[in-house]
């Protein structure tokens, strides 16, 4: 049995032995089953899930995208859906709930047990993009008065429900967070050691309204499995786990990369986004950049005299302005990424500018040498000189623009990732036109 033969069986091309399918799916990882359901998009229905026990159904559901979950939820009878939803991780359950319409939410809630109802209501109330929205309520708390043995007994009773009990959180009577203890520490300690004596008091807690990206970066920075989330009164309200942090970082990286290609925000993944969504995400920057390029056009129009007197100049136009744009793209790409990883800050601009000027100077000189020969061949000594000189200055200007733009954007409160390739290229193009024909006019007219 393989996912391929399973697909054949589902499509009726092969005989399906229900027991064989059941055994195959029981041995498969939920993430792989979810991937299978995604690849055979037309077939994301309950037929495959019917072969799984209810816990695994919930697990597979957790690995699907929000849109796929909603489609499944809509096609299931209410009681069936309630049973699966009850088994889902608390954070994923709340996210799915948030994605349903109000009517669907009202229909689902009465079918759930009291505890799940309250849990969903609470988790679903936090604002998107905050720690509250990605945290889970599946964590274990202990009183500081317990001994290590009593603590282990408590965890034994509670463990089956909790997403992670690798670390248990120590709270006072008001659920105020005091510290935490790792499971190995509990096991290593003498049975009657008070937890107070072995707990770590540094909690690293984040506030429930903290930005999700900042929380994810902390999890990455401190190499922890989870961070506790507290409310304004320092009471623990949830934990954010390392796998959710990774999802957040991947999402933010995608957003940054899209920005670098002048693509706006996409609420759905590329494969699932509608034509209209894709159009909207792209049209703004394309039209905006047209207006930027009108300046380049105006620049060229301004130099009509020198151009019509020396038509061979046109041959080098794309080459020169593209080189400035390319050097600028390189500089902005390096800068924006270094800012995203936290390596470069606003204060580094001066030092970076000096280095960039040196690198760009060498790059421009290299390219001027390459282009001088072509200049001699296509236009003679005068044009070769103009072209080589323009190349050095254009690469230098493009690079310094590409380096500086992200700093300017931060300074005025924008995301530096907005310094996309196309934006830098458009600005460098204008500089390129002015530099090139300016030099040409000075030398040739």
């Amino acid at each position: 049995m393989s996912f391929q033969t399973l697909a054949d069986a589902l499509e009726g091309h092969a005989a399906a032995d229900a027991d064989a399918i059941r055994a195959f799916l029981a041995a498969s990882h939920a993430a792989d089953i979810a991937q299978f359901l995604k690849d055979y998009e037309a077939q994301i229905d309950w037929r495959v899930l019917d072969f799984l026990d209810i816990t695994k159904q919930a697990e597979v559901l957790g690995y699907l995208d929000r849109g796929e979950q909603v489609a499944l939820a809509r096609s299931a009878p209410r009681s069936r859906l309630a049973a699966v939803v009850t088994e889902m991780d608390a954070d994923e359950r709340a996210d799915l709930f948030n994605a349903l319409t109000e009517d669907e939410q009202e229909a689902l809630l009465p079918a759930l047990a009291q505890a799940e109802r309250e849990d969903i209501r609470r988790l679903a109330s936090y604002k998107d993009g905050t720690a509250g929205a990605i945290m889970t309520s599946d964590y274990a708390v202990l009183s500081p008065k317990l001994s290590a043995r009593q603590a282990l007994d408590t965890l034994r009773r509670e463990a089956p429900d909790k997403e992670t009990i690798y670390r248990a959180y120590i709270v006072d009577a008001d659920r105020k967070l005091l510290g935490s203890v790792r499971l190995p520490q509990l096991i290593l300690a003498a049975p009657d050691t008070p937890i107070e004596n072995i707990m770590e008091r540094e909690t690293g807690a984040v506030r429930v309204d903290e930005d999700q990206e900042s929380v994810a970066r902390k999890i990455a920075r401190y190499d922890v499995i989870a961070l506790p989330v507290v409310d304004a009164e320092e009471r623990i309200v949830g934990i954010v786990t390392h796998d959710d942090a990774l999802d957040v970082i991947t999402e933010e990286v995608t957003e940054d990369i899209h920005k670098s290609g002048s693509v706006g925000q996409l609420a759905e993944s590329v494969g699932r986004a509608s034509i209209v969504m894709l159009y909207r995400a792209r049209v703004f920057w394309l039209v905006l950049l047209v207006f930027g390029n009108i300046f380049s056009g105006a620049g060229i129009a301004h130099f009509e005299d020198v151009i019509s007197a020396h038509m061979p100049l046109l041959f080098f136009l794309p080459l020169l302005i593209a080189s400035g744009g390319n050097a600028g793209s390189q500089a902005s790409t390096l800068t924006v990424r270094a800012m995203a990883t936290g390596e470069v800050h606003l204060g580094h601009w001066g030092r970076m500018l000096g280095r960039e000027a040196m690198v760009a100077g060498f790059l421009g000189a290299t390219m001027a040498i390459a282009i001088y020969g072509i200049g001699l061949w296509r236009g003679g000594a005068d044009i070769a000189l103009v072209v080589a000189l323009a190349m050095i200055l254009i690469v230098l200007a493009g690079s310094l623009i590409g380096l500086t733009l992200p700093f300017v954007l931060i300074r005025i409160g924008f995301d530096p990732a907005t310094a996309s390739g196309p934006l830098v290229t458009s600005i460098a193009d204008i500089a390129g036109v002015l530099i090139y024909f300016g030099i040409a006019q000075a030398f040739l007219l």
Copy 2:
């Protein structure tokens, strides 16, 4: 006390109370101390580490970049270095060792205990970029014949040495990997349950020579804390942990983003790379793209007649070819990222092309409308028509080139991320010149 006052004290601007510094650093996270050392670059020496106990010194060292570690290692007396290195995590220790010169390695080894020596030699022998190179030897193994109680006793004895004992690996007498057991399961089980009865047999093991990015993606996909690494005989040789996976993913993302800006591989971070390294990473693509743009130049030269007869055409040149390049950058950015996250595969090209053609058609039409008015104003009805028509076709061509190039690159065995903005722009530029002046010649001459 804060890191700022610590800096002042170190620079002699403020009185330093050694006890206060010691207490402040003891309460600070090792990652934060490392960040402080990085920001005060000139000061990465042993003065700050001297305030910490040896375990924390090793922890802080682990959070520094390779280059900073090496600089520190070189400035320490051998015995001092050996003591800290002994305390480091096995995987980080081996990486640092690999970064030293052969002479330095030979000097360090005799100062280490036998166990650490062998461990370093073994871990340092795996090829860069493989699971072996990022795995650690800090994991716990158990025999399947043990009871749950015996297993816990074993872990209690071994725990202090192990990076993660949240999951222990079950091996036979030859260290062949049979399965694994999570610590909570051990605690929950009745004390005399044989481990064989509670262990998970699905190991998810990766081979020691598997690509590190593929291993990291598995850890992300299966939401696990660690994956075991086995050799060709299925014997366990290490584990890769979630924090290393995150580092690998961040590194690979940086590489992809750099590629998207036509920047080649950088062995160091941007802030630490030398002028020569930065020059080398950038010059190849810049010069290569010059040759691409010679075709655009040749295209323009070919249409010299129609241009000199209608000079206003030049006004629209930057605008039109930039629009094609920008639309192409958008399409390739979306495609390359969707490929990196695994959402889009080679087989999706046909479906994606159809969607892209529709989106690009609408985008081109929108921009043609915007440009038609400018065409009327600058050049009259004929030129407006030529410009609008060219815009639709150029945006369409640029988009389809941007979408298709990543698929072509995969097909011929290249990384799709090589379809960078500048490369797509250069190709789209050539198409733009030919389409624009081709239409102009047909309508105006």
